[in-house]
C-alpha cells in the first residue's frame, strides 16, 4: 500500500533540507546543556563505574585480583555500549512524539521534506549522542586498563551504531503504531525490562536458566551484545560478518517500515 500519495509537493533539495533540519535539531536537543552532560558523561560512566565495575569485582570472586576484575570488565564494556544503544529507543520516542503531536512533523512534510530526510534528521542527534557516549565509555575503560585495538574499537562502534539505529527505529515504530501516549508508556514499560535483562548484558548467556535463554534467543539485544563481545574476543574475523549483515538487514527493514508508515498528524486539538 502506498502510504504517501497524499503529499505531492516537492521540497528543497534533500541535502539542503537535511542540513537545515539537523541545525534545528542540534539546537533543540542541546538547549539544556546540563541534560547533555548527564546523557553523554554521567550515564555511561555511571553504568561503568557503579554497575560494571561492581559486578566485575563480584564476578572476580572478591579476590581483589586485578586480572580477574579486568577480564570481567572486558565482558561488561560491550554490555554497557549495548545498553546505551538500547536507550536510543526512548530518545526517538520522545522527540518523534513531541514533533508529531505538536504538528511540527506535519509542517515539515507539508513543506516537502521527504519522510526519509525527516527520519534521518530526527535520529541523527541521538545517534551522535550515542557515539559520544561510546567515546566516553571506551576512554574510561582505557583508563581502567582495557586496551582494545583500533579494529576492535571499530567493530564495537559499528555494531553499536547498527544497534542504536535499530532501537531508534523501533522507538519510532512504537510512536506510529501505538497512537495513544498512555498506551505507549505501558508498552514501553512492559517491553524494556525483559529486553534489557533477558539479554546477556551483565552475565553470560551460559549462566542463564533455560527459560531466560529462550527469551534471549528472541531478543535482538542478545545478538548486538554477542557480536560486540565476539568483536573484542576474536577481532574482526570473517565469522562475524554474516551476523553483522543480518543485523544490518534487520536495522534497514525496521527503518524502511518506519519511513513508510511515518504519517504526520495535524496538531492534536485539531483532530
Amino acid at each position: 500500500m502506498n502510504r504517501h500519495p497524499i503529499r505531492t509537493l516537492t521540497g528543497i533539495p534533500s541535502t539542503r533540507s537535511l542540513w537545515f533540519l539537523l541545525r534545528q535539531e542540534t539546537k533543540a536537543l542541546t538547549a539544556v546543556p546540563g541534560e547533555v552532560v548527564v546523557e553523554v558523561f554521567l550515564s555511561p560512566l555511571g553504568y561503568l563505574f557503579l554497575l560494571g565495575a561492581g559486578i566485575s569485582g563480584m564476578l572476580a570472586g572478591g579476590s581483589g585480583s586485578n586480572e580477574a576484575f579486568l577480564a570481567n570488565l572486558w565482558f561488561m564494556v560491550p554490555g554497557i555500549v549495548a545498553i546505551q544503544a538500547f536507550f536510543a529507543i526512548s530518545a526517538s520516542m520522545y522527540r518523534l512524539q513531541a514533533d508529531r503531536q505538536s504538528g511540527m512533523m506535519a509542517m515539515k512534510l507539508v513543506q516537502g521534506v521527504r519522510p526519509v530526510v525527516y527520519t534521518v534528521s530526527i535520529f541523527a542527534i541521538p545517534l551522535v549522542r550515542f557515539l559520544a557516549q561510546v567515546i566516553v565509555l571506551l576512554t574510561a575503560a582505557w583508563v581502567l586498563g582495557i586496551r582494545m585495538t583500533a579494529s576492535e574499537v571499530g567493530l564495537v562502534v559499528m555494531v553499536g551504531v547498527i544497534a542504536a539505529v535499530t532501537w531508534l527505529a523501533v522507538g519510532g515504530l512504537l510512536v506510529f503504531l501505538v497512537r495513544k501516549q498512555t498506551n505507549r508508556a505501558v508498552v514501553m514499560r512492559v517491553l524494556s525490562l525483559p529486553l534489557m535483562f533477558s539479554a546477556p548484558t551483565f552475565y553470560p548467556l551460559e549462566s542463564m536458566p533455560a527459560y531466560l535463554r529462550t527469551l534471549a534467543f528472541f531478543n535482538p539485544l542478545t545478538y548486538h551484545l554477542e557480536l560486540m563481545r565476539g568483536s573484542v574476543q576474536i577481532g574482526p574475523s570473517w565469522l562475524l560478518w554474516p551476523v553483522v549483515l543480518a543485523l544490518l538487514i534487520v536495522s534497514t527493514v525496521t527503518l524502511t517500515v518506519l519511513v513508510s508508515i511515518a504519517q504526520p498528524l495535524p496538531a492534536q486539538d485539531n483532530v
Partner: protein, 326 residues
C-alpha cells in the same frame, strides 16, 4: 490558481466534514473562509495542505513545490525546545533560504507581528496569543505563493492585526493567494476579496465580499443615540416599520458575537435605552428616524452598510433560526 473539485471528507468515526465542495480561486485573491465551528474549514485546510487525505475529490494548488505553500494552523505548531526566532526560521529555512537569509527574514516577520523583542526567548515562555504570532511570522517569513491562515488574528492587538492584514494584502497584490479562516470578521473584512461560506461541510456560498454581504443581508445597519429611554409603547407603535429588523445591541456596549435577540419586534414590555444598534430592512431607516424624533431627542443617527459579520449572522438566522443565539 487554486482549484478544488468535488472534495469530500468522511472521518473514520463516520462524521462527514466536507461534502462535494468545489471552487476556484484566482491569483492575487484574499479569500475569507467562513463558517461556524465544525463547518469543515479546518478539514478543508488540512486536505489542501496535504496533511490528511480527502475521501474523494481533488485539490490543485497550482504549485509543485512545498516552499510555495504556507500553512498557519489554529493549533500551536511549535517546536517547544527552540527560541522564537528559531521557530520562525523554519518558514524561510524550509523554503530553501540560507541560514543567514532565513534569520533576516524571520527577524523582519517578527517585527511585523510585534515580537521583535521576544526573539531570543524560548517558545515555552510565551502566551497563547504570542505563539499564534510566531506561527503567522513563520508563514510570512517564507513568502509563499499560496497561504492558508487558520485564525491568524487570534490574540493580536488591533495595531498588529492591521499591520498583518496590510502585509497579507500586499502579498496578494503581488500575486499570492491567501485563504484566511477567521471568526474575527471585522479585522479581515476590509482586506478580503472573496468569501467562501461552509455550512455543515457544504459550500453554500462563494462570492465577492460585497456580493456575499448583499446576498445575505439586505438590511442597513443603523446606530442611534438618544437622550432618555424609548418607552415600550413606542416599539408597539412602530412594530410594522420594524418588521424584519434585528437588534444587534441595545443600552450597553455590543459584544462582538453576542446577539441580543429581537426585543425590537417581539413585543417586549421593557423600555429601550440608548444607544440602539439595529439591522433595518433597506429604506426604513429614515422612516424610523422620523418616528424617533417625535418621542426622544436623537443625538446621533448613523446608517452603515451591513458588515460581513452582519451578513454571516443573517445567514445563520435564516438557515438555522434561533439556534445561533448567544
Amino acid at each position: 490558481m487554486v482549484v478544488v473539485r468535488n472534495l469530500s471528507k468522511r472521518y473514520a468515526n463516520g462524521k462527514s466534514a466536507l461534502e462535494d465542495v468545489s471552487f476556484t480561486i484566482g491569483d492575487g485573491r484574499v479569500v475569507l473562509l467562513l463558517g461556524r465551528n465544525g463547518a469543515g474549514k479546518t478539514s478543508l485546510i488540512h486536505i489542501a495542505c496535504q496533511v490528511i487525505r480527502a475521501t474523494s475529490g481533488s485539490v490543485d494548488l497550482g504549485i509543485t513545490h512545498g516552499r510555495e505553500l504556507g500553512w498557519c494552523s489554529q493549533s500551536q505548531m511549535i517546536d517547544w525546545w527552540l527560541s522564537v526566532l528559531d521557530n520562525v526560521c523554519y518558514g524561510p529555512g524550509m523554503a530553501g533560504f540560507s541560514v543567514g537569509e532565513a534569520r533576516r527574514r524571520a527577524s523582519e516577520a517578527l517585527e511585523l507581528v510585534g515580537l521583535q523583542g521576544e526573539a531570543a526567548r524560548n517558545c515555552s515562555e510565551l502566551s497563547g496569543g504570542q505563539l499564534q504570532r510566531v506561527q503567522v511570522a513563520r508563514v510570512i517569513a517564507a513568502r509563499p505563493s499560496v497561504m492558508f491562515l487558520d485564525e491568524p488574528t487570534v490574540g493580536l492587538d488591533a495595531w498588529t492585526t492591521l499591520s498583518l492584514m496590510e502585509d497579507i494584502r500586499r502579498r496578494a497584490d503581488d500575486g499570492a493567494i491567501v485563504i484566511v479562516s477567521s471568526h474575527e470578521l471585522d479585522s479581515v473584512e476590509e482586506y478580503c476579496d472573496e468569501v467562501l461560506l461552509l455550512d455543515k461541510g457544504r459550500l453554500v456560498s462563494h462570492a465577492s465580499a460585497d456580493e456575499f454581504t448583499r446576498t445575505w443581508s439586505d438590511k442597513e445597519r443603523v446606530f442611534i443615540e438618544f437622550e432618555g429611554r424609548l418607552p415600550a409603547s413606542f416599539l408597539h407603535r412602530v412594530q410594522g416599520l420594524l418588521s424584519g429588523a434585528e437588534l444587534v445591541g441595545s443600552g450597553k456596549p455590543t459584544s462582538r458575537s453576542g446577539v441580543v435577540q429581537g426585543q425590537v419586534h417581539d413585543g417586549s414590555e421593557s423600555d429601550v435605552s440608548s444607544p440602539i444598534d439595529v439591522l433595518l430592512p433597506a429604506g426604513k431607516s429614515l422612516l424610523l428616524l422620523k418616528e424617533l424624533v417625535s418621542v426622544v431627542s436623537v443625538t446621533q443617527f448613523r446608517v452603515d452598510r451591513p458588515t460581513l459579520a452582519d451578513a454571516f449572522l443573517s445567514f445563520q438566522r435564516t438557515v438555522h433560526g434561533r439556534e445561533v443565539a448567544g
